[in-house]
Structure formats: structure tokens, C-alpha cells
Amino acid sequence: MWENRCKVAVSGVGFSKVSRSADMPLAAHALEAVKGAVADSGLDMSDIDGLATYPELPATGHAEVDGISIVSVNCMMAMLKLPSLTWHIQVGTTNIGGAVQQAVNALLAGVCKYAVVWRAMHNPRGTYQNLPGTYAQGDTQFTAPYGFGGPGQGMAVAYTRWLERHNQNREKMATLAATQRRHTQHNPHAYFYGVPLTREDYLTSRMVAYPFCLFDCDIPVQGAVAIVLTTADRARDLKPTPAYLAGYGQRLHFEVAGRIGSLSSYMEGGRSSAKLTWERSGFSPKDVDVAQIYDGFSASVIYGLESYGFCEEGEALDFIQDGRIELDGELPLNTFGGSLGTGRIHGLWHIIEGALQASGRAGSRQVKDVNVSFVGASAPIVTGTTFIFVSEPY
């Protein structure tokens, strides 16, 4: 087991307004979320001495303008002018989960005391994937000429492979979509709060990139979320009940850039990240009381459940049936609604929910008697990270 387990905790969390597309600069969303997280911790902004994010803009073909379409560490520094700042970082090889892990490492190293991590996501007005180009350069020269324009298709090809190799039926995914949307109704910050979705809605919705229909895809939104991380000792003196970090991992597998459609990449990525997390925490899948698994496209949940070890390969769509992922089920899943419910904010919201469930702060969606709270914070293939939070340090 990891000698540093339960030495760092998530304290406060914060949310901005989530809107369908940009009606104010993204920096305003990020500020709202960061201020919310600091206030939730009972801290003052002047206490914050660490900053970390992953600022990438997933919408293809749009200009990256700091403060408008991304919110970098530099942007946040310029806005906040933190008097106590001692450390900051922006990560690349992993998504926002990597920024959280770097903040954990900085806290363990003693180079900061209270770190804020935020994820701000821009949805430009007009077309999300702006693909007007006449030419296909670099990695895209082998994919773009065939109409592989966006990430949805890259994920969809692995999904057909999974479905047909395992003789599975995409209609079973209706259970995930409908269950998560019910969970969403307990999360007032979510984009789809107040908007129900039935199995029939899912089964009759329009196809986007087969096997993905509209409700297999998280809706692009503009918004931000943030967390405060600190050492366990300091967290105990703050207002919220701490969620202790028992272990984490990151994907250790990468295939050649530009390669597309490899189901094995998802599985290898997920397995490598989960292995580190189980070993460091000393837990196994059967110990988990509640799980958040990244669902930007629904099939990521399949790859997560299988590669993290919650079920066998080919079984995930059966595993989620019969009430197992309900709030009172055997493995309550994406209890905040997931990205399918909140809108596309990437994995920091999964991490937030994992922490809230571990600290008993999830309100009307709180799962009973949670100790071990698991998070898979990104699609395992490229940017996968995994976490376990616990309510009881050990």
C-alpha cells in the first residue's frame, strides 16, 4: 500500500452556472467555480497558494483565447493575484485528473498548503467541430479524408468492435442513460436538472455516429467546476468533512498518435491506471461502495467498468441492469448524473462527486454508508486517471 494514502483530502467544491453556449467569457465561469470552492472550504482567497488545471479546448478548429475559450493557470494567476501563491502547474498527458494528482504531489511535498484545481469548458456559439479545412495534415492525414472528423467517431468505432465481438445490443445502454438522468434530478448544478429522460426517449432518439445516438453523447456546454485540496491535517480544521485520497493512478499505455479505433487501447489504459489505484489503496473492486466513471460518450463507462475490474469483458451492459447502478443499488454509478447529465465539463465533476459521496455531502443523492468511493476521471484511452476517496482514514 501507498505510504501517503489518506494524507491529502478534498475539502471544498465549487460550481459555476452551466449554460448551453458562451454568453460570457469562460474566465467568469472559472472564477465563480474557484470562489465557490474556496468559500465552501471556509477559506479566504488569500489562503490559496497552489493552482493547477488542464485547460485544453476540445472543440475542434476554434482559436484558443485565454480567458475566452480556455482558462490557463496564467489567466487565473492574473485574475486572482494571490498573495500567498507558491506553486502552480498545467498538465498535458492526462486530463484534469492529472492536474489533481500533481496538486496532491505538491501538497505531499510541502510546497503548497491549499491548492485549487479547476476545469473550465468552452462551448463556442455555432458549430462545435469547426472543420472547414481543405487539407489534412499530421496525424489527421490518415483519418480526416475518410470523414473521421470528431472524437465521437473515434469512440464509436471501438464501440462497434465491442458490441459485435461480444454479441451485445446497444439498446441495453438505455438503462445507463435513463438511470443517470434520474440521478441528475438530484443535482441542481447540472445542465439537465429538471429535464427527464425515459428509456423510450433514448431508444427513439436520432443517431449521431452509430452506435451512438444523441443521448450517448454529453452535451457541449459552457461552465466550470473547482475543488480545494489540502493535507489531511489541515482539512480536518476546515468547514467541510474531508474526503481522504486513498490512492490514485494514471494510464501507462499509449499507442501511436493517429491510430484510431483500437478497443485494446481503452482496455490497456484503464487496466494500467486501475492497477496502480487498487495497489496503492489496498482496496479491490468488490470493496467499492459508489463509483463515478467518465461518460463523455456512454461507451466509456463500458470500458471503465471492464478495465477497472468491476465486471468481465463483454459484460458491462448486462452488469448495469436490474437496479445495480441505482442510488440504492449494489454499485451506485455516476450519482451526480455523469457528464450525460451535467453537460461536458470533463472529469473534474466525477472527482468532485467521488469526494462528496465519501464525505457524506451529496445531499438527496447521498448513497448510504459510503466508505470507499471510486472515480475513473477520463476515457481510459488517452487521458485516463483513477482515484479512490474514503471517509475513514486507515
Binding site: 472543420l131 495534415q137 490518415f142 470523414g147 468505432v157 455516429a209 501511436v256
Partner: protein, 144 residues
């Protein structure tokens, strides 16, 4: 009617680089050549600086037979990519060649209804000329 109409599609033109030029040069001649490790014999695609199997840098392009099977596919209905909007729904496929296991190539399923795309179905390469400089390897169902 389940045939995709490719006539109004403006495919983005691939721009070869130092690593990929031999692939596109071969395609222009109507041949399929993939990067092969001269040390361990592994074929790979897309081209890369090193062998993805043994990390050798001794790589050359060698001809392969254009016969293989659909490894995975998607059928595109969304018109977000305006260049391809005229063809929806259309099948984009990932093909694993018999000669190059693990080297996955993208393509479209041509000359067949898009509903014919299925994992494991046999396909063969065909060549689609985009202009005088660039020809795209594509796939159709194998004709016995």
C-alpha cells in the same frame, strides 16, 4: 436506398510528410505499402519514428496485399463536418489487413450499402484518385 452519395463530398487532401510520403507515393501508383520494421518484421500504420513492437529505427515501406477484414466501423449520421454532410449516412471503417495484423487503416466502405459494414466482414483495397498528386486507399467488400 442505403447507398451513401459521395458525389458532393469534398475530402480534405492529405499532406504527406517526411514519414508518410512513401505511403502516399505508393497509393498514387495504385499500390499499398506499409511501414515495416527491418529488424522484427512487424508492419505498422500509421507510420511512426520507431517500430512500435521492438523500438528499432530501421523501418522501410514494403508492399502488402490489400485484403483484410473490418476491425471496427461507425456509421456517420451527424452533419457537423460540412465537407461530408452530403454523404450521410456513410460508413467509416477501420480495416486490419491480413498481411499486417495490428496495423489499423481507416477508410470508407465504398460500392455497398453502409448497412453492410460489420465487424469481421472481408474487404479489399481500392484506390480513389483525389487529384493528380493524391490517391486515397479505400475499401470495398471482397469480390469472390
Amino acid at each position: 436506398m442505403t447507398m451513401s452519395d459521395w458525389s458532393k463530398v469534398t475530402r480534405p487532401i492529405p499532406i504527406p510528410n517526411e514519414w508518410t510520403k512513401p505511403f502516399w507515393d505508393a497509393a498514387r501508383r495504385g499500390a499499398l505499402e506499409l511501414q515495416r520494421c527491418q529488424k522484427c518484421g512487424n508492419f505498422q500504420h500509421p507510420p511512426y519514428a520507431t517500430c512500435v513492437n521492438c523500438v528499432s529505427t530501421d523501418l522501410k515501406f514494403e508492399p502488402v496485399h490489400g485484403a483484410g477484414a473490418i476491425y471496427a466501423y461507425t456509421i456517420m449520421y451527424h452533419t457537423g463536418d460540412k465537407r461530408f454532410a452530403g454523404a450521410v449516412p456513410y460508413a467509416s471503417v477501420i480495416v486490419e489487413l491480413d498481411d499486417a495484423p495490428g496495423a489499423l487503416m481507416a477508410g470508407n466502405l465504398l460500392d455497398a450499402p453502409y448497412t453492410e459494414a460489420k465487424v469481421g466482414r472481408r474487404v479489399e483495397v481500392v484506390f480513389e484518385k483525389l487529384n493528380d498528386d493524391v490517391t486515397l486507399p479505400q475499401f470495398r467488400l471482397t469480390r469472390e
